[in-house]
């Protein structure tokens, strides 16, 4: 079935056009087409995965020539290995659930049809990125995902805050896309092809010079920094909350941010075979991001922002996993897989809460476990999974990353990851307590959501419960069979010692969280941190530095200076050239009139004057002629007689 993998992205893409042009007049105002397309895509993805489950692990590649320039042939095609197959499931299923959920969540939305068209395009673009067998096609999906997130984050564009967030997301990720593009160039020119299996092979056989490979890897990682919201380009993701909450679920679990991690996994050979600097860079960025994002999540009052920073932090986990080298490959991508379920669940749960109480602020929630039991229980499952409580999904993947970090000697990564795990359990406990426990502090009547919204929550909760077992060694670790790097899957002996450390970390975070937040306090206990709280509250001043240091000066001052130089200097030169030309022409004119024409005129005047004088002798008066004749004859006579 992997041969028809091309259908998976094509279905939602076709749905995009159908919904866009005809959606209004179809069942569910376009949602029907969109959901049907992604549902079929999901079923196809399932059949593709079943092939891998069945044990046939050979990747399947299909490719067609797209276009050609000189010696470069660009192809369009699909490359389905275990990683792609798993990712297809993640994207299609999360998208499907989000779209079902949105029927109710967005019911009163005036731009309902457009919303579904955009979701279809978003899903299709991401799927195109996943199946791409070459970097150019991947880049196309990559950028389309970016524009879709711009469109959806800014969906409620009547409010400038929302469209600002959309622009911020696009421009920030685009900043990462530029080095990414250059990284693609490095690989294309070094290997003469954009084909990912070929590039992988070339990297493995040392056909690319190591320094070049290193540069290429780091440049490519720039793209992942932008898309997967890693430090220092993570700033867009929290603002991306401006979009409708189901979109946040999609962005955070399956489409946008997963792309960066997936990219690193897709061309992992480039990273592994590059110089050690490449993976060290990746590890450093990931460690920094993991920790600073987890710290930011501690103090957020907006429930979506807690989740947003936790996504940044968890993405860093995945990337940190990958940075551990070959052995970290499976754990890193396994965390991408498990995280998708519980993060989608948490966002959709948060959406249900927000839908019920009409606010994002946890200080205005509280006590919601009673009116919203389904939301509550599923949210708790998601939070526990994220916190790494066994036997939920997050525990298995996170524990694997942490233990692998220690085993491979990345002690710094290990320490940071463990610390982050504690923080994660802490802030999730805080969020659950503030939202669902204590007394209701908000206005209005909170109620449970209809089935069309709770249904997806239940499905995702089920997946968050069981997905971890796919990677659990006790259950055969089938995930490692599907997704692994190198010849065969690694089977390290399972270490209960490491697991115990991870569990203890999570429990510690949970306990501290419970200690501080089991009773509602008007003033957040963390405010006692004083200046540290301020730094966190101001997001390490990064937004200010970017906005006041780069964006605003470029937008207003630099651009004004350029415009000024254009008007005053460049046009000034043109105008002075024109002015000199006119000056010169006036001078020429003066010379022409006074000297050149002057000479002509003087000759004319002289002639006229002479003529005027001579006129007197041509009077036509016969007597005067006779007198002159007589005088002349007399003079001549005198002359002749003298001679």
């Amino acid at each position: 079935m992997a041969e028809i993998a091309w259908l998976v992205p094509v279905l939602p893409l076709v749905a995009f056009f159908l919904v866009l042009f005809f959606g209004r007049r179809t069942p569910l105002r376009g949602a029907g087409i969109s959901i049907a397309a992604v549902a079929v895509a999901f079923l196809i993805s399932m059949t593709i995965l079943f092939r891998f489950v069945g044990g046939d692990l050979e990747p399947v590649e299909r490719s067609w020539t797209w276009f050609q320039i000189g010696s470069f042939e660009f192809e369009i095609g699909t490359y389905i290995d275990g990683l792609a197959a798993v990712m297809l499931i993640v994207v299609t299923l999360v998208s499907l659930l989000v779209q079902i959920y949105s029927i109710e969540y967005m019911r009163t939305e005036p731009r309902f049809t457009w919303y579904y068209a955009a979701l279809s395009l978003f899903t299709g673009s991401m799927l195109n990125l996943v199946v791409a067998n070459n970097l150019i096609q991947l880049l196309v999906g990559w950028e389309l995902v970016g524009i879709c997130s711009y469109l959806l984050i800014g969906h409620w564009w009547e409010d400038k805050v929302n469209s600002d967030a959309g622009i911020k997301a696009f421009i920030t990720t685009k900043t990462g896309d530029v080095p990414f593009l250059f990284g693609i160039f490095v690989l294309i020119v070094a290997t003469g092809t954009a084909n990912i299996p070929h590039i992988t092979e070339a990297a493995e056989h040392g056909e690319i010079l190591t320094p070049l490979l290193t540069v290429g890897a780091i440049l490519l990682f720039g793209g992942a920094i932008g898309k997967s919201a890693q430090f220092p380009l993570h700033v867009w993701l929290p603002d991306a909350m401006a979009g409708p909450t189901p979109v946040s679920a999609l962005i955070h679990a399956a489409t946008m941010v997963a792309a960066g991690v997936y990219l690193v996994g897709r061309i992992f050979a480039v990273f592994v075979h590059a110089g050690p600097v490449a993976l060290q860079t990746v590890a450093t960025i990931a460690s920094i991001t993991m920790l600073i994002a987890a710290l930011l999540a501690l103090i957020q009052d907006d429930i979506k922002r807690v989740l947003a920073y936790s996504t940044v932090s968890q993405l860093a986990y995945m990337i940190a996993g990958l940075s551990l080298g070959e052995e970290g490959y499976t754990p890193g991508l396994f965390h991408l897989f498990t995280h998708a379920w519980f993060k989608a669940l948490l966002f959709l749960g948060a959406g249900a809460v927000i839908h019920a109480v009409h606010t994002n602020n946890m200080s205005l929630m509280g006590g919601l476990r009673k009116p919203m039991p389904v939301t509550f229980w599923t949210f708790v499952i998601g939070a526990a999974a994220l916190s790494g409580i066994p036997p939920l999904a997050g525990f298995w993947s996170k524990d694997e990353i942490i233990s692998t970090a220690f085993r491979t000697g990345h002690y710094w990564v290990w320490a940071v990851a463990l610390l982050t795990a504690i923080l994660t359990a802490f802030y999730m406990t805080r969020a659950v307590l503030l939202t669902f426990f204590g007394d209701y502090r908000g206005q209005g009547h909170a109620h449970e959501m209809p089935r069309v919204m709770t249904g997806p929550l239940v499905v995702l909760a089920g997946l968050s419960l069981v997905a971890g077992f796919l990677g659990a060694p006790q259950f055969g670790a089938v995930f490692a069979e599907w997704v692994h790097f190198g010849e065969a899957a690694h089977h390290e002996p399972y270490s209960y010692g490491f697991a115990a450390v991870s569990i203890l970390g999570a429990l510690a975070g949970l306990a501290v969280g419970y200690r501080l937040y089991s009773r509602w306090r008007e003033r957040d206990p963390l405010r006692r941190l004083g200046p540290v709280y301020t730094v966190l509250d101001r997001k390490y001043f990064l937004d200010d530095v970017y906005l006041q240091g780069i964006v605003r000066p470029t937008q207003y001052r630099l651009s004004a200076a350029v415009d000024w130089s254009n008007r005053i200097i460049l046009d000034g030169l043109v105008h002075s050239f024109a002015w000199f030309t006119r000056l010169f022409s006036r001078a020429t004119d003066a010379v022409d009139r006074n000297l050149v024409d002057g000479a002509v005129n003087r000759v004319a005047i002289g002639t006229g004057w002479t003529g005027g004088l001579l006129r007197y002798i041509q009077s036509g008066n016969v007597q005067r002629y006779a007198v002159l004749l007589f005088v002349g004859v007399a003079i001549l006579a005198v002359i002749f007689t003298r001679v």
Partner: protein, 513 residues
């Protein structure tokens, strides 16, 4: 179809000119008839252009390089014209000319369709339509002329109608200034270009104006360098390259809508085409010498224009400045002297013609509704007030900022790719630095377009527009725009539509380097 082979180009180029003559004899009060004739003649030219596609051999090499090049020229005609100086009516097309000729025929026709409904103040349809028709003959002629004298005649023929279009039908206020600036600036450039033409004529043995024959000229490097400067001034002003671009924002902004569409869509490409058709193949050694400089100017244009765009308050002027940046990418591609770069350049030319042509249509129609081009006065909310027009604006602006899947992407990305590995002999370091700045330019481009969309399209409708009834896209506009919108999508999804035509032609050009 021998007859068609030798006459097709002449028909496609001169049918509009014939139309201009016909229009002048129509009685003045027959306004509709005049406009219909405009559509008819440009439509006929377009039909000829489409028919030519069926007779065109897409696998042929380009008309560059050695003797075999002669066969590469299709639909060729070569008649003696001014025998004293051996100037010939030598016309033909190859893979480089064809896309631009088709673009000209298409945009010319669409402008006439648009004119059916909207003719700028102060009216006078006969003169307006006739000038547009002459303009089209001049532009399309430039892309098929293979004789320098003929090329020059077509090149200059463009100036006069455009001068009147801007100066008479432009927006009141600065139109005279803009028209004169446009005319004198480009004329200034073409004088130097003409000098180089003459120098090449007298330097060639036997003396010839034939572009293909001149490619075997084997001029010595010193002469090439001097001649190149002359050509450079002529072409660079037309493109326009930084710092010769200042005529463009004025001319584009003040011109009537269809004038701007012609200017941005086609006229600018005459400059870039000149580089590819004449400067590079005839003076290859000089091209290698000057390429780094051209590359530097191109990238300055990209960054400079994007920054200038951020400062613009006038919607049309913003689009005009964006042209400078996009043409910077085209010139960067050309400066690399590589297959990828020059293909990117031609793709970029066509894509820019389609996209920016569309943007100018939109700017005109927005002005027609709002009676202002000031972004701040429009003040947002267009998506609510005129949803279709705003959606089209968003689509086109996003295409212009280089989103993959749409036309603007390939020219830009391939220009950057070619800059990563320029032709042998060019400084790799320099061009990689240029690539980095070009990349920064793409971020800025995204920035100013998204900001523009935010200020024009998004937000709520300002109070001053709330009570006003503003018409959304009407039937004539749909007809005039649909081909461009489809083209933007199609070129993005199937770049082979252009690259399949240009690839082999460009290969025979880059073989010279």
């Amino acid at each position: 179809m021998d007859w068609f082979d030798s006459w097709a180009i002449t028909l496609a180029v001169f049918l509009p000119a014939v139309g201009a003559v016909v229009v002048t004899v129509v009685p003045r009060d027959r306004d509709r008839l005049v406009r219909a004739l405009g559509i008819l003649f440009t439509g006929a030219a377009l039909v000829v252009g489409i028919l030519m596609l069926f007779g065109y051999d897409f696998s042929a090499p380009g008309a560059f390089g050695d003797g075999s090049a002669a066969r590469a020229l299709q639909f060729e005609a070569n008649l003696s014209w001014i025998s004293v100086i051996d100037a010939n009516y030598h016309i033909g097309i190859d893979g480089v000319s064809l896309p631009l000729l088709e673009l000209t025929l298409l945009l010319g026709f669409l402008c006439m369709v648009y004119t059916w409904r909207w003719l700028p103040e102060p009216g006078r349809p006969k003169a307006f339509v006739a000038l547009l028709l002459i303009l089209q003959t001049g532009m399309s002629g430039t892309f098929i002329a293979f004789d320098l004298v003929l090329f020059f005649v077509f090149w200059e023929l463009v100036l006069v109608p455009m001068y009147f279009l801007i100066g008479y039908w432009g927006y009141p206020g600065r139109r005279e200034y803009a028209a004169i600036k446009f005319f004198l600036y480009t004329l200034f450039g073409s004088v130097f270009m003409l000098l180089s033409f003459l120098a090449m004529y007298f330097r060639s043995e036997p003396h010839t104006f034939d572009i293909i024959a001149l490619q075997q000229g084997g001029f010595d490097p010193t002469f090439q360098n001097l001649a190149f400067i002359g050509l450079f001034l002529g072409f660079a002003i037309k493109v326009p390259m930084w710092p010769f671009h200042t005529w463009l924002p004025d001319a584009h902004t003040e011109a009537p809508t269809v004038g701007s569409v012609h200017l941005a869509g086609i006229l600018l490409k005459m400059g870039t085409y000149g580089f590819v058709r004449i400067a590079l193949p005839v003076l290859p050694d000089a091209a290698r010498v000057w390429a780094p400089w051209i590359g530097v100017l191109a990238v300055i244009a990209i960054v400079y224009a994007s920054l200038a765009c951020l400062a613009q308050r006038d919607l049309k002027r913003l689009i005009a400045f964006s042209s400078v940046g996009h043409m910077g990418f085209v010139m960067l591609g050309i400066a690399t002297l590589t297959d990828v770069g020059i293909n990117a350049a031609i793709f970029g030319m066509v894509a820019h013609g389609v996209i920016t042509g569309m943007l100018f249509f939109l700017a005109g129609s927005v002005h027609e509704r709002y009676h202002t081009r000031e972004i701040a006065e429009i003040g947002g909310g267009m998506l609510q007030k005129v949803p279709f027009m705003a959606s089209i604006l968003a689509f086109t602006a996003i295409a212009s900022l280089g989103l993959p899947g749409l036309a603007g992407f390939w020219g830009e990305v391939m220009a950057l790719l070619s800059s990563y590995s320029p032709a042998e002999g060019l400084s790799v370091t320099l061009f990689r630095v240029l690539m980095v700045f070009g990349g920064i330019g793409t971020i800025l481009t995204a920035g100013y377009f998204l900001w523009m969309l935010q200020r024009v399209n998004l937000g709520v409708v300002p109070d001053r527009w709330e009570p006003k009834r503003l018409a959304d896209v009407n039937a004539v506009e749909w007809v005039a725009w649909a081909p461009l919108l489809v083209g933007i999508l199609l070129l993005g999804l199937v770049p082979g539509l252009i690259l399949g035509i240009t690839s082999d032609a460009v290969a025979s050009l880059t073989g010279l380097f």
